[in-house]
């Protein structure tokens, strides 16, 4: 569905994404890696928010690979690459419903119509209601988005990304800051949408990653260091040392963990 070749992005002297070759099929693939590994940057490259220093991004549409490396964010979005943001990024003074409705509308030709009342387009409103239902925000439809709690906003993020029948879904930490009860809801939600769409998920919650993914890719210092089924990746020693070898309940008391070495090498290139 989506593939990159030699995708690289540098910030000054820092290589945030380092010649990544990656291909996403019709699957739920998780992208994990330490903080600052380049996950969000990778997303920004895919969607055209940032342009790569080198490399290409291609999207498969109607059986054809299409180069979208230089496409702008709105172009990638209209080609079906939808994303949610790591930090909540909604339309704050619009209602929750309007947030989703306007996203839905983006994927039709009606958006440029300026002589007809919006109420004429019931289908967008209906679809928006369905999506809110799906993420469990139906009861807040008429509230302003700015009045939602953090967790609720995350759900709204996902609903906006779902609008307009995406070809690929890119979810950047949809669970960040979501309480455990909602984590389950969102996890269910992710699994459900993965039935319908290819999903690329950035996530730090290993329970979810290991639980839902078909495949896990690990990014470290901008480069892919592992790629495979969850169990295999979990067992990979590189991944262990670079990423997973972290906090275990109870470890604080005996003071065995030291975090400093794992992060020390990051990003000094």
């Amino acid at each position: 569905m989506l593939r990159t070749q030699g995708l690289t992005r540098e910030f000054g002297g820092l290589t945030a994404v380092d010649s990544v070759d990656f291909e996403l099929d019709t699957e739920l693939c998780s992208l994990i890696g330490p903080n600052g590994a380049g996950k969000t940057t990778f997303f920004n490259l895919l969607t055209g928010t940032l342009s790569p220093t080198e490399g290409t991004v291609e999207l498969r549409r109607d059986g054809q690979w299409e180069d979208i490396t230089d496409a702008s964010p709105h172009e990638t979005a209209s080609k079906g690459l939808h994303r949610s943001y790591q930090v909540t990024n909604v339309f704050p003074n619009s209602t929750v419903l309007e947030n989703v409705r306007v996203a839905e509308q983006a994927h039709s030709d009606a958006a440029t119509t300026f002589w007809r009342n919006v109420d004429h387009y019931d289908e967008f409103t209906e679809r928006a209601h369905e999506l809110l239902d799906r993420v469990g925000l139906a009861h807040r439809a008429e509230d302003l988005a700015s009045t939602l709690s953090h967790g609720a906003k995350r759900k709204l993020e996902v609903a906006i990304a779902l609008a307009g029948d995406p070809a690929v879904l890119l979810l950047d930490e949809p669970n960040a800051g979501v309480s455990s009860e909602s984590v389950d809801e969102i996890r269910d939600l992710i699994e459900a949408v993965a039935e319908d769409y290819p999903v690329l998920l950035v996530e730090h919650n290993m329970d979810i990653v290991m639980g839902v993914s078909d495949r896990v890719v690990v990014l470290h210092q901008g480069a892919v260091i592992a790629d495979g089924p969850p169990a295999e990746v979990r067992a990979n020693p590189d991944v262990q040392s670079a990423y997973l070898g972290g906090y275990e309940p109870g470890s604080l008391d005996d003071g065995t963990t030291t975090g400093s070495d794992t992060d020390a090498g990051e990003g000094t290139a």
Partner: protein, 382 residues
């Protein structure tokens, strides 16, 4: 005429002429609000479109517009002015919409001032371009609003050139006819803009104001939407300018292209309620009423003549301190100093009626979703 009651009403109420000004300038303020209040891009050089419309009408009437003779119907001149403004808006917008926030405001201001300086020095538009053009003898008759070609459906505007008509036993003066005819055009333009705001296109404009990055990420080419909205708003600003020139029969760089003209529109939208469209008109009405009330020096109404009449000559001549008389003091504080009080009113407004007239009214009435929206501009600052 001389009853005390009439003195008070005269003092308070704006004249019909002022009201005509409220209409066409109100339209300009509405067009300003259309782009600035709904997309959040402050079009600080908006006056350039207003000026374009005004100059177009006068140049056409003076036979100075290529291809168009002095006999060109006014309605067509308005349209021509609007179209020129659209072209201008697109040219300016192509560059300016790469910027946002204050930078956008400043670059549009910069462009407008370049045009202002240019028009002020362009001999072609008037013998003394700095003083601005006026409709010359080649077009002595009034400009007609209505359906071009059909005299029965057209009426002339202008204080001195407007048609007088008899209606239901009373006569409407040229100014009053202008009021209704210009009102019709303004109303039509207002409804057109209102309709656009409530269309899918309009919702994208609001989405841009709320969070442009996200609007892009869900697939809108916001650049084009902004350009479109800018062009539309430029068109209506030019129509407003054309109405102004058609009614006044003159224009000057200072009252059309100058950045303070945009400033007045900004004041109007703020007082009326930013992002409320119609509010801008009320805002301007308020502004004008206050100014007129405070600055009418001898035109029969206003506070100063009223006070003079009320206090009588004896009181006025009474001395206060040293040589100052009460009359002198009133004159010192009021005569020609309307700005002082207008300024005070604005300060109080900003402090105590921040949502503007219409915005506050809507909040009070518990506005619906669409009505609650505009209360805020540019989102919360984080």
């Amino acid at each position: 005429m001389n009853s005390p009651v009439s003195a008070e009403t005269q003092m308070l109420l704006p004249t019909v002429e002022t009201m005509v000004g409220v209409l066409y300038f109100g339209l300009f303020a509405i067009s300003f609000d259309f782009i600035s209040g709904y997309t959040g891009y402050l079009s600080f050089g908006h006056a350039v479109f207003y000026g374009t419309g005004a100059y177009a009408v006068i140049l056409i009437a003076n036979g100075k517009m290529p291809l168009l003779g002095p006999g060109t119907p006014f309605m067509l001149s308005l349209l021509v002015g609007g179209l020129i403004a659209i072209v201008l808006a697109i040219l300016v917008g192509l560059v300016s919409f790469r910027l946002s926030g204050v930078y956008f405001a400043m670059i549009t201001l910069g462009f407008a001032q370049v045009f202002y300086v240019f028009v002020r020095g362009w001999d072609y538009v008037a013998t003394n371009p700095r003083d601005g053009p006026a409709v010359g003898p080649s077009h002595a008759e009034g400009f007609q609003i209505g359906i071009p070609g059909i005299d029965q459906l057209s009426l002339s505007i202008g204080v001195l050139t407007g048609d007088e008509i008899a209606l239901l036993g009373s006569t409407l003066s040229g100014t009053e006819v202008s009021y209704y005819m210009i009102g019709l055009v303004v109303l039509a333009c207002y409804f057109a803009m209102q309709r656009i705001i409530h269309s899918p296109f309009g919702r994208v404009m609001i989405a841009i104001r709320e969070n442009e990055e996200r609007a892009i990420a869900i697939g809108y080419n916001t650049y084009l939407y902004k350009l479109g909205a800018f062009a539309i708003s430029g068109f209506f600003a030019a129509v407003a300018g054309g109405l102004f020139a058609g009614f006044k029969r003159s224009a000057s760089p200072e009252n059309s292209f100058y950045f303070l003209v945009t400033g007045d529109a900004l004041l109007a939208s703020i007082i009326g309620g930013f992002g409320t469209l119609a509010g801008s008109l009320y805002g301007h009405l308020f502004d004008e009423t206050v100014r007129e009330f405070l600055s009418k020096a001898g035109q029969g109404g206003g506070l100063l003549p009223y006070l003079r009449a009320l206090l009588g000559q004896e009181t006025l001549d009474a001395t206060l301190l040293g040589e100052t008389t009460i009359g002198g003091l009133i004159d010192l504080l009021l005569n020609g100093h309307a700005s002082l009080y207008v300024g005070l009113v604005f300060v109080l407004f900003v402090l105590y009626v921040p949502d503007g007239l219409l915005g506050t009214l809507r909040t009070r009435l518990g506005g619906t979703f669409a009505e609650a929206l505009p209360a805020k501009l540019w989102g919360d600052s984080e």
